[in-house]
Amino acid sequence: MSWWAVLALCGCAYGLKAVGLALADRVPQGGGLGGSLELVVVPVIAALIVVQTVGGDREVVVDARLPAVLVAAVLVWRRAPILVIVLAAGATAALLRHS
């Protein structure tokens, strides 16, 4: 495989991160969007959860991931540590797939 392919991916991936940071410097401080930059990421993370839980190849797929995330939701509500949530979600999905 050509190194150009690798370098193209690397350059573009870093470039996107750097562009976001450069844009952030242009958003005026205080008022307007400036005070709400943290809110911008909230719907994005929420969408990421949906896509990773029920997302398929151009379709909504309900499989072992959904019950695993529901188990995690109960643990989040009970304020369990991340490690417990990681193990519980992984174990739930793994057990459902092997049963």
Binding site: C12, K17, G32, S36, R58, A72
Partner: protein, 218 residues
């Protein structure tokens, strides 16, 4: 106390991504990339979902022109993350250039899940560095091992990441604006998943924050 919790959480997430990285290493070598090329991708591109898509398309016989756009659609959300991390990444130009490299789903979510500013910075760095180390170690292991390794799905690994992001999102949902933006973002993604290419549902959901932005004070 708080600092040790951040490091423990960062390490947990790092190990999970490290195991996932093994399958990236295997997939990348199977797609025709050398071990060195595979490792450079994980070290420099350092954005998991895009890397998987990129080597999958090429492995399926597509060229770079076919593989790059879907990979960049997935990497696009990192630009939104960097934008949201302005306060966390504040510093000199060189510092910012290095910190930008660590901007990914997990480091961003961990940073925003902390209420205090110094903890945000600590969580961002701890998570970014833990994943950088584990992601590259896992990639190397997978690239060298190759062949038939366990499917990460059979270990339930694909369910771990949404669970972690849920744990990191909930602490940010204190106010009505944040809760509203999260619900609208989730709904946007659910509607777009069947009709839009991968990457678009997550990126487009950023628009869900618009109705909830604070009005500019006169």
């Amino acid at each position: 106390m708080r600092s040790s919790r951040i490091i423990r959480d960062a390490a947990s997430i790092g190990v999970a991504t490290g195991i996932y990285a093994v399958s990236f290493g295997v997939l990348s070598v199977a797609a025709g990339f050398s071990v060195a090329q595979t490792c450079v991708m994980s070290l420099v591109a350092f954005t998991g979902a895009s890397q998987f898509t990129f080597v999958s398309v090429i492995g399926a016989g597509g060229g770079v022109a076919a593989a790059l756009p879907p990979a960049l659609l997935l990497a696009g959300r990192n630009a939104i993350y960097a934008l949201s991390l302005r306060e966390v990444l504040a510093g000199g130009r060189r510092r910012q250039a290095v910190a930008a490299h660590l901007v990914i789903d997990e480091s961003t979510a961990m940073a925003h899940a902390q209420p205090a500013a110094p903890d945000k910075r600590r969580a961002f760095l701890a998570t970014g560095l833990a994943i950088l180390a584990c992601w590259n170690a896992g990639t190397l292991a997978g690239a060298l091992a190759g062949g038939a390794l366990t499917d990460p799905r059979s270990l339930g690994l694909d369910a771990i990441f949404p669970a972690v992001f849920l744990a990191l999102l909930v602490p940010q949902l204190g106010g009505r604006r944040a809760a509203g933006a999260a619900l609208l973002g989730a709904a946007t993604a659910l509607v777009l998943v069947p009709i839009a290419p991968a990457g678009v549902p997550v990126m487009a959901s950023v628009l869900a924050c618009v109705p909830f932005l604070r009005r500019r004070t006169p």
